[in-house]
């Protein structure tokens, strides 16, 4: 193969490479964009705090507030380390309407009534792999959200 043939072949290779790159670029960009979730979750892992606990004669509501990231609201609740039944839960303030607990969203988790009986109780809420815990004595006690 002489020099001219090599030059032609090399030029053709550059063209092919360029075409391949330009074809792949948007695909890779889209794929990396889908990775937003993964990379954003690393940067901004979902977390929440307990805004307030209200225990009445009919129900006990735990109000949780999204601090960052996005969480699927599938809560589990423990009182003094004991697993308690979650009666219902939902998002009270869903700022972007996506059905997830995002930063600045407010949700409630309802458990059985009469949890607050005058003694100090430790309420632990798990949402996914995130947890928040609050010791509460009576209605209106401050939550653990940063102020």
């Amino acid at each position: 193969m002489n020099a001219v043939e090599e030059l032609i072949l090399f030029s053709a290779a550059v063209v092919v490479a360029a075409l391949a790159v330009f074809t792949l670029y948007p695909l890779v960009q889209t794929a990396a964009g889908r990775g937003v979730t993964a990379s954003q979750q690393i940067a901004s892992r979902g977390s929440f705090c307990i805004m307030s606990v209200y225990s009445g004669s009919n129900e006990t509501n735990i109000y949780i507030y999204g601090l960052q990231g996005t969480l699927r609201l599938e809560p589990r609740v423990y009182v003094d380390g004991m697993d308690v039944n979650v009666v219902s839960y939902g998002i009270l303030r869903d700022r972007d309407g996506d059905g997830y607990l995002d930063a600045r969203d407010l949700a409630y988790v309802e458990i059985n009534a009469g949890i607050l009986d005058g003694n100090l109780h430790r309420v632990t809420v798990w949402v996914g792999r995130e947890v928040s815990e609050l010791s509460v004595l009576k209605n209106g006690d401050p939550g653990n959200c940063p102020t």
Binding site: M1, E6, L9, F10, A13, V16, A17, A20, V21, L24, Y25, V28, Q29, A31, A32, G33, G35, V36, S39, Q40, I42, A43, S44, M51, S52, V53, Y54, G56, N61, Y63, Y65, L67, Q68, L92, R93, R95, A103, R104, L106, Y108, N139, G140, D141, P142, C145, P146, T147
Partner: protein, 159 residues
């Protein structure tokens, strides 16, 4: 002489194309990921900064057996969307401002006799009012801004 396979030049070219494509793909993917992380960090910082500059206080309040009300003053440096605020009474979520049973109005004057707009500017006060039929009692009221900044609990007493 029988020549088999690729010549050195051709195989070099194949490697060259492969390397170029691989590097381009890697650079694009890494750049996108770095941008994503950067965006998330910026959002996080913006929330934190906004919150540290937000302060609200309940400066007065009362109840008359039919209604309960408090006056909330913006003592911070950020403008607050009134309709983005939540109200708790004794730790129970009462509602969001103007979202049902809680009515919030920025005071248009010193006596709060005129109603202003729905943005609580720094230094402004708003009235938060809710139906509260109770003969007597005391209740702890807390108001939370959209970014999570909250007032200290304020006790309203009806003798």
């Amino acid at each position: 002489m029988v020549r088999r396979g690729f010549t050195t030049v051709v195989s070099n070219l194949i490697f060259f194309i492969g390397a170029l494509v691989a590097v381009s793909v890697a650079v694009t993917a890494i750049t996108m990921m770095i941008q994503n992380v950067q965006t998330a960090m910026e959002q996080k910082t913006a929330i934190t900064v906004g919150k540290t500059q937000t302060m609200i206080d309940i400066v007065d309040g009362g109840a008359d057996g039919n209604y309960l009300w408090v006056y909330v003053k913006n003592t911070g440096r950020t403008k607050l969307d009134v309709n983005d605020m939540d109200v708790y009474i004794d730790g129970r979520y009462r509602g969001s401002c103007n979202g049902g049973s809680v009515f919030c109005n920025v005071c248009g004057d010193a006596n709060c006799s005129n109603i202003g707009d729905y943005v609580l500017d720094p230094g402004e006060t708003m009235e938060v009012n809710t139906p509260w039929p109770a003969a007597s009692g005391s209740w702890e009221v807390k108001v939370v801004a959209g970014n999570g900044a909250a007032t200290d609990p304020y006790t309203v007493v009806l003798p």
